[in-house]
């Protein structure tokens, strides 16, 4: 479970387990992501977010080591106070880490909000997201801080996008340090 501020997402990972014959892939693991909103049934927005998360995870998980299996990632939104997608990304990555799946790189989610006056705000609250001119969410990989996933809401200029990307890449260092600390704490008790 990951909660920056008040946004909270619970992630559960199941797998690699036996896959249904209709879903199994002959050479790699079949990854499935289910995103459940806090209220209501999953709709089109959840579907598109599931697709983003699934393809981001597929890029880092070494599926070829577990052919004909299914890996299911279930994310439940416990509370939403802004930056939900990046919270889901962080929860997904920590779940993959905790499950011990073979990964090529770690990733973290960072949300940038572009204020109407041009300042960049990282990890905006719901209020800040509403006031912002544009919201950009990036998934940054741990290897060379490359962009794994990018999605934008609202329009911005090309320079502003590059600035947000640079800020997100710098912020990624802090999040990866947090991952390291959490994993160290988890395994130091035993």
């Amino acid at each position: 479970s990951v909660s920056p501020g008040d946004t909270s997402v619970l992630a559960g990972l199941y797998g690699p387990a036996e896959a249904k014959v209709s879903k199994e892939l002959p050479d790699r693991a079949a990854l499935e992501v289910l995103l459940r909103p806090k209220v209501g049934l999953p709709g089109v927005l959840e579907r598109s977010r599931e697709q983003l998360l699934r393809q981001t995870c597929e890029a880092v998980v070494l599926g070829v080591l577990h052919p004909r299996t299914a890996i299911s990632l279930v994310l439940q939104v416990l509370s939403d106070a802004g930056s939900l997608l990046s919270c889901c990304l962080n929860a997904a990555c920590m779940a993959l880490l905790d499950a011990g799946l073979p990964l090529t790189a770690l990733f973290c989610g960072v949300t940038c909000a572009l204020q109407p006056d041009g300042t960049i705000l990282l990890d905006p609250t719901a209020r800040q997201e509403q006031d912002a001119r544009a919201i950009l969410t990036f998934a940054i990989a741990s290897s060379e801080r490359k962009v794994l996933m990018a999605t934008t809401k609202g329009s911005c200029s090309v320079e502003e996008m590059q600035q947000c990307l640079a800020a997100a890449q710098r912020a990624a260092n802090i999040i990866f340090q947090f991952y390291r600390d959490s994993v160290r704490r988890r395994y130091s008790k035993s």
Binding site: A59, A150, V158
Partner: protein
């Protein structure tokens, strides 16, 4: 022998072409397929829609029909109308799509189109309002793929833009005494389209190579996709990179530059077609 290697080892077959900086269908890596667009009741076959367009991007065929209906605006936004896009991938367009409820690809595409409309502000919802709190237009935009050969998002955005440019809304007034709406079908006004977003999709091969306008075969072999939507001022309306191989900021910048060039080509095409169908 080459046909055998294409089915047995498609990736190796493609790599041989990519090494020479070209693709099996003869295109360069940065070249788009032939784009044709048919707008309106005469050229496009939908006579019951208020606006329609048919776009062909190589073999990918997408048709968009816009129907305008009247409804009461929502309570919390009394001066806004609605735009409801819906992308359908029926089972006739490709064998991978089964009939039944919309699959993930169709739903994700619908969400993407809704985001593009919202982000680019191509239609401001306040323009769709007729009487604040009482009556507003609802635009149902149905985008149906008739033939799927890759690059669905580019074709859908283009079809939507062309269809919306074709929409003529009748003048609606509210009678003061009776409170009923009167629709004047004789007087029609075109929609106010403020921005013209154009999408450009790229496929990432082997974590390094970027090719523009992928076909269905190339999409299956690619390790990732990127879609950039720009408007005429060179502003980014959407950067859509759903996972896939990681990209550096510089590579992303290359994509954006190519997208801006593509925007100019598409804008010229649309203007030419609109001019040819406008009655003098």
């Amino acid at each position: 022998l080459s046909i055998c290697s294409r089915t047995v080892e498609p990736l190796e077959y493609y790599r041989r072409f990519l090494k020479e900086n070209c693709r099996p269908d003869g295109r360069e890596l940065g070249e788009f397929r032939t784009t044709t667009v048919n707008i309106g009741k005469c050229l496009c076959s939908i006579t019951t829609a208020d606006g329609s367009a048919l776009v062909k991007l190589g073999n990918t065929t997408v048709i968009c029909g816009v129907k305008a209906e009247l409804a009461a605006p929502a309570v919390d936004s009394a001066n806004k109308g609605y735009i409801v896009p819906n992308v359908e991938l029926p089972s006739l367009c490709a064998e991978r799509f089964r009939s039944g409820p919309p699959g993930e690809e169709a739903q994700a595409a619908s969400q993407f189109i809704a985001d593009v409309i919202e982000n680019s502000q191509m239609i401001v919802k306040e323009d769709l309002c007729i009487a604040s709190g009482k009556l507003a237009w609802v635009l149902y935009c149905d985008i149906i793929c008739l033939d799927y050969d890759g690059n669905l998002l580019d074709a859908s955005v283009f079809a939507l833009l062309a269809a919306l440019k074709n929409v003529q809304l009748p003048l609606v007034t509210i009678n003061e005494e009776s409170g009923l709406s009167e629709v004047n079908l004789k007087q029609k006004n075109p929609l106010i389209i403020r921005k013209h977003p154009v999408a450009t999709s790229f496929a990432i091969f082997d974590d390094t190579l970027l090719i523009v306008d992928p076909t269905a075969e190339e999409e299956d072999l690619a390790t990732g996709t990127v879609t950039i939507v720009t408007d005429e001022e060179g502003r980014l309306c959407s950067v859509h990179k759903p996972g896939g191989s990681p990209l550096t900021g510089a590579k992303l910048q290359d994509c954006i530059t190519r997208a801006i060039t593509r925007h100019k080509e598409v804008k010229k095409l649309i203007d030419k077609v609109i001019k040819s169908i406008t009655p003098k």
